[in-house]
């Protein structure tokens, strides 16, 4: 094909000039084709079946891109850019893919007319700058009350799960974020734990202001339900351990041997006794008070026995991450040695109880005064719903966090895209030179968002765009996906995140420009082919 083939080993693929562009554009359009039915609350679900036969059902663009193994290099470039969007902002993945696809589709028309790609990308850049300026004017700065946060979360969640579930999760998500929010500190979303139980139906999910641990007591005599519990969080081994180093114990009679055995045991028993002492101290003889120990290390059966005899609930081998959460949720501090035991290190919860679901056991620590860590308890009849909900919760929580961080919102339902397209068309008239065509293409491409929303909701694309554009000349309008008419996203409570939109514009322009500026695709032969 060209001289380059002489430079490389084996048979490498080389695609150049217009062919390379077509190659890239097709990839972008193909990916757009896969993802476009996802967009919006009325987008449809995709079923992903992994090589092992596991099922995932989703309409979350991010999940989809991650799970479907994309081989096409340009397509995977776009996919990576979109997942980056998700990592940074938690939403807008599908929109990124759609806009990149559409930008390239628009570009294709001009390229066919003999435009140089560089001319178009200059225009894209100009358009993007203008859009970002417009975004600043477009944003709505209001006090972020509960209702407004709910609107943001709902807008995000409705695009991931079905409406009834989305509404249920909205309340949970917003409450979760508000609970862990400390004034003046950066939100730490890791303080929201998600725990899934395969049981009942998805709308039975709830927010637990406290902790749910996915294991229970390992001793049948331990109490299953406690009220007013003091909680000791510790990282102390309550197991008989082999002595360090080579120790040889010598004895002459069985009694001596027995003595050794007892001594070895005593080492652990003393620790347990200290904990029991503390329990007696704080609970006194009060039957309404109880004691729970959550240990990161093990508790051996003999120690469990001792604890059970005292009516103490002992949980062993708790996860590292949960230890931190427990102290945040119920107060107290985690101790590393029984020497540090005192009433001050204890946390407190009104209710601690164990629940078994099939073979699994769960321990709920609830009713805490000032929780800075919460658990979202998901219930669903099957694995794929749980996965779907987990992904959705993640995005919902992020949407709320973004809103709090940004301090402002953008009216949703395609309102911004329609308004921006109109503005760009006006701008285009004032631009001198060839860049204007790039701006024009960008303006057209932006409309892909409302267009796809309309298609997915079963409305006529052209009619909808005309209605929207006419409406947008007067004020901010979005698409009502139920009726196909224009609506005011502000009164409907449909809001997008500022950062999502901003990043969406930046990412799409960058990737689309990069892909357009490729004039040669060189693909080395894989090692496999050589072998």
């Amino acid at each position: 094909m060209s001289a380059i083939s002489m430079l490389t080993r084996g048979q490498s693929d080389i695609i150049s000039a217009l062919q390379a562009l077509t190659y890239n554009i097709n990839a972008a359009k193909g990916l757009q084709g896969v993802l476009e039915t996802n967009l919006g609350p009325r987008g449809t679900m995709k079923m992903l079946v992994s090589a092992g036969g596991d099922i995932k059902i989703t309409k979350d663009g991010n999940v989809l891109l991650k799970e479907m193994q994309i081989q096409h290099p340009s397509a995977s470039l776009i996919a990576r850019a979109s997942t980056a969007q998700d990592q940074i902002t938690g939403d807008g993945t599908t929109s990124v893919v759609l806009l990149i696809g559409e930008l390239l589709r628009q570009a294709e028309r001009y390229l066919a007319d003999g435009f140089h790609p560089r001319v178009l990308t200059d225009g894209f850049l100009l358009a993007k700058e203008h859009c970002i300026k417009l975004l600043e004017q477009f944003k709505v700065t209001k006090t972020l009350d509960h209702e407004l946060l709910c609107s943001v979360a709902r807008t995000s969640l409705r695009t991931k799960v079905h409406a009834a579930l989305a509404d249920k999760l909205t309340g949970i998500v917003v409450e979760a974020v508000q609970t862990i929010r400390k004034e003046g500190e950066v939100l730490d979303l890791f303080m929201i734990e998600i725990m899934a139980i395969q049981q009942h139906s998805d709308v039975n999910s709830r927010l637990v202001k406290g902790i749910v641990l996915d294991h229970g007591a390992r001793h049948p005599e331990m109490p299953k339900s406690l009220k007013n519990a003091f909680i000791l969080t510790c990282n102390v081994s309550l197991e008989a351990e082999k002595p360090v180093g080579d120790v040889v114990e010598q004895y002459k009679t069985a009694a001596e041997r027995e003595e050794f055995v007892n001594q070895e045991r005593k080492f652990v028993d003393d620790r347990v006794a200290k904990i029991i002492d503390l329990k007696r101290l704080v609970c006194g003889g009060d039957p309404d008070k109880s004691f729970v120990i959550v240990n990161q290390k093990g508790i051996d059966p003999a120690s469990l026995d001792m604890l059970a005899a005292e009516g103490i609930l002992g949980l062993r081998r708790a996860k590292r991450r949960n230890m931190e959460r427990i102290t945040l949720a119920c107060g107290g501090t985690a101790v590393n040695s029984v020497e540090d035991l005192s009433a001050d290190v204890l946390g407190f919860a009104k209710s601690v109880f164990e629940q078994s679901v099939g073979e699994e056991k769960y321990t709920f620590i609830e009713g805490v005064d000032n929780p800075f860590s919460v658990t979202i308890l998901l219930k669903a009849p099957n694995k794929y719903t749980i996965l779907q909900m987990k992904d959705a919760i993640r995005d919902g929580v992020r949407a709320v966090k973004n809103a709090i961080d940004d301090g402002c919102l953008i009216p949703g339902a395609g309102a911004f895209e329609v308004a921006a397209a109109l503005e760009l068309k006006k701008l285009q008239e004032t631009i001198q030179g060839r860049a204007k065509y790039g701006v024009q293409a960008f303006a057209e491409a932006l409309l892909v968002i409302p267009k796809t929303l309309a298609t997915n909701s079963g409305f006529d694309t052209i009619d909808t765009i005309i209605k929207l554009e006419e409406g947008a000349r007067q004020h901010v309008v979005g698409l009502d996906i139920q009726t196909g008419e224009v609506c005011d996203p502000v009164t409907e409570g449909i809001y997008d995140n500022y950062i999502v939109k901003k990043h969406f514009l930046e990412a799409t322009t960058l990737i689309a420009s990069q892909l357009l500026q490729v004039d040669e695709v060189l693909k080395a032969s894989s090692d496999k082919q050589q072998a």
Partner: protein
């Protein structure tokens, strides 16, 4: 174009004809497999699983688990039925059959040109209505637990598995459950009704033991103990060991002998203490040393060994004892009591029976199942499980519906009328949803060799006259199910309907399928490309 983006071997299906209809058909195929097994006249399936194990059963949960369903949509239906099994433990077949039927109805709607979202909306609406209708059609609420009432309530669950012996087993299960009912009935634990299968004899020889049965012989020569105190040790009965390396320090032969003597004395001391506490049965969770055995024999103590932690726990429950960690003599609270503990020989199987008299409180009961072959016993065991699960449902919520397809026809006729008064596109889906509920009556009558259309139309007219408890009589024609004493548990039915609706709706929501190339997992015990593999395929697709 899209497929070229993806990794080689990936399947990409899209659109109504490509993805949706294909999914619907797969689920219908699956439900065709199980539907002939529904009800008392249901047929058995012979299933040979991937490991070559043979099952002859009419239990839907087993059938669909063992045929290894691969089609993703059909797998979702299997998951729904699994969930029913774990939540309720009965009516798994209803979930599969209903999902299949709902999707068959949906398919006709989609082919008519209705949009899937309209079908979904209609189905969801009807699903909620169905739950309400069932709530309103309760005919009996059980609050008292006597053998006669309970046996009647669980009979339909059992008769759908073992029709011939339904009276025997519904009575056995009822007695077993009531016998161990805790003070707070809601804490009833299904695991405390055990089934022990002993080959030989005939099914009608099966009986109930108040207590635990262990399928092994006792250790020593003592084979029986009455009115016995029981000590349970969670570990083996051996000389204790130090964690660190222990070395016996001997300087001459005399010292060695003294050492051995001290060991023996120590052991005797321990066992004597146990014997002095009045213990005549010792249960150990591990090995028992020869020396210990010797002293046990000398002190006339019966010794039972079990390797299973769970079995040990059950003995504790049966004798009200507490497992002791250390080998010291158990305290008074730790000791248990059993009215009779003896080794028996059933067929050629030796078993140890811990049995309590009716007046002694007991938290575990065991149904001893006798039959000629393992397959029969497996099937009856499942029937017993279903019965016990129904009892669990009963103590939680004692509401019952008329069985024999009566409740389903009731739902069908009421939802149909709701559909007729609903404006908009979803009315078609609502009506079709109602029609899907006829399937139960249809299958019951087909499996009984009756003309299903005739039976269903008769039932509709009966229900229209206000006889809402009429169902299919498998002996022929229709009858009043309430009068015949055929009852279905409300919560079981509601959960089954909810799960089936949920599965159907989820499958309908899918518009695209992306399947990665399945990795070739070698099938243990059989060639993957052989006849077995293709049979799996047939059944699953």
């Amino acid at each position: 174009m899209t497929s070229s983006l993806l990794k080689e071997g990936t399947k990409y299906l899209q659109g109504i004809t490509g993805a949706v209809i294909q999914n619907l058909e797969a689920v219908q195929e699956l439900s065709k497999v199980t539907r002939t097994s529904l009800g008392p006249n249901g047929m058995n399936k012979m299933v040979i699983n991937r490991h070559g194990k043979l099952f002859v059963t009419n239990d839907a949960a087993t059938i669909i688990r063992e045929i290894d369903v691969v089609h993703p949509a059909a797998r979702m239906c299997v998951m729904a039925s699994d969930q029913q099994q774990s939540e309720i433990g009965d009516a798994t077949n209803l979930v599969v059959v209903l999902t299949g039927e709902l999707l068959a109805q949906a398919q006709s709607l989609l082919q008519m040109g209705l949009h899937p979202s309209d079908v979904i909306r209609g189905f969801e609406k009807s699903g909620e209505e169905a739950a309400k209708i069932l709530d309103a059609s309760v005919i009996e609420t059980v609050t008292e637990y006597n053998t006669e009432t309970v046996a009647r309530c669980i009979k339909s669950a059992i008769s759908s598995k073992v029709n011939a012996y339904d009276n025997l087993f519904s009575n056995l299960v009822a007695q077993a459950c009531i016998g161990i009912l805790p003070d707070d009935p809601k804490r009833f634990n299904v695991d405390n009704v055990r089934v022990v299968k002993v080959t030989g004899g005939s099914v009608s020889d099966s009986f109930l033991v108040r207590g635990a049965v262990i399928m092994r012989d006792s250790e020593g020569t003592i084979k029986q103990a009455n009115n016995a105190r029981v000590a349970v040790f969670t570990h083996g009965f051996e000389i204790s060991k130090t964690d660190a390396k222990g070395t016996i320090l001997v300087e001459d032969a005399a010292e060695l002998e003294t050492y051995n003597n001290t060991e023996e004395n120590k052991m005797e001391e321990k066992i004597k203490a146990i014997a002095d506490a009045g213990v005549s049965v010792v249960v150990c969770g591990g090995t028992i040393s020869e020396m210990a055995m010797h002293f046990f024999e000398r002190y006339n103590i019966m010794v039972v060994k079990t390797a299973s932690k769970f079995e040990l726990r059950r003995i504790c429950l049966a004798t009200k004892s507490r497992g002791s960690m250390t080998l010291a003599c158990p305290t008074a609270e730790e000791l248990g009591y059993v009215d009779s503990c003896k080794v028996q020989e059933w067929g050629s199987t030796k078993v140890i029976v811990f049995e309590q008299k009716p007046e002694t409180q007991c938290t575990i009961s065991t149904i001893v199942l006798r039959a000629a072959t393992n397959n029969v016993m497996d099937d009856i065991e499942k029937a017993i499980e279903d019965g016990v699960n129904t009892f669990k449902g009963l103590v939680r919520d004692g509401r019952f519906l008329a069985g024999a397809g009566a409740a389903e026809i009731g739902v069908a006729s009421k939802i149909k009328s709701i559909g007729e008064s609903t404006p908009g596109q979803d009315q078609y889906a609502i009506k079709k949803y109602a029609e899907a509920f006829e399937v139960v009556a249809r299958i019951l009558s087909t499996n009984a060799g009756l003309d299903s259309t005739e039976v269903v139309s008769k039932l509709y007219s009966k229900h229209a006259e206000g006889n809402a408890t009429w169902g299919v009589d498998i002996e022929g024609d229709v009858f009043d199910a309430q009068a015949a004493g055929i009852l279905d548990h409300l919560a079981t039915k509601q959960t089954a309907i909810r799960l089936a609706t949920n599965a159907a709706v989820t499958i309908l929501r899918i518009s695209q399928i992306i399947m990665s190339k399945p990795c070739d997992v070698p099938v243990p015990g059989g060639s993957p490309g052989g006849t077995m593999g293709s049979m799996d395929q047939d059944a699953a697709m």
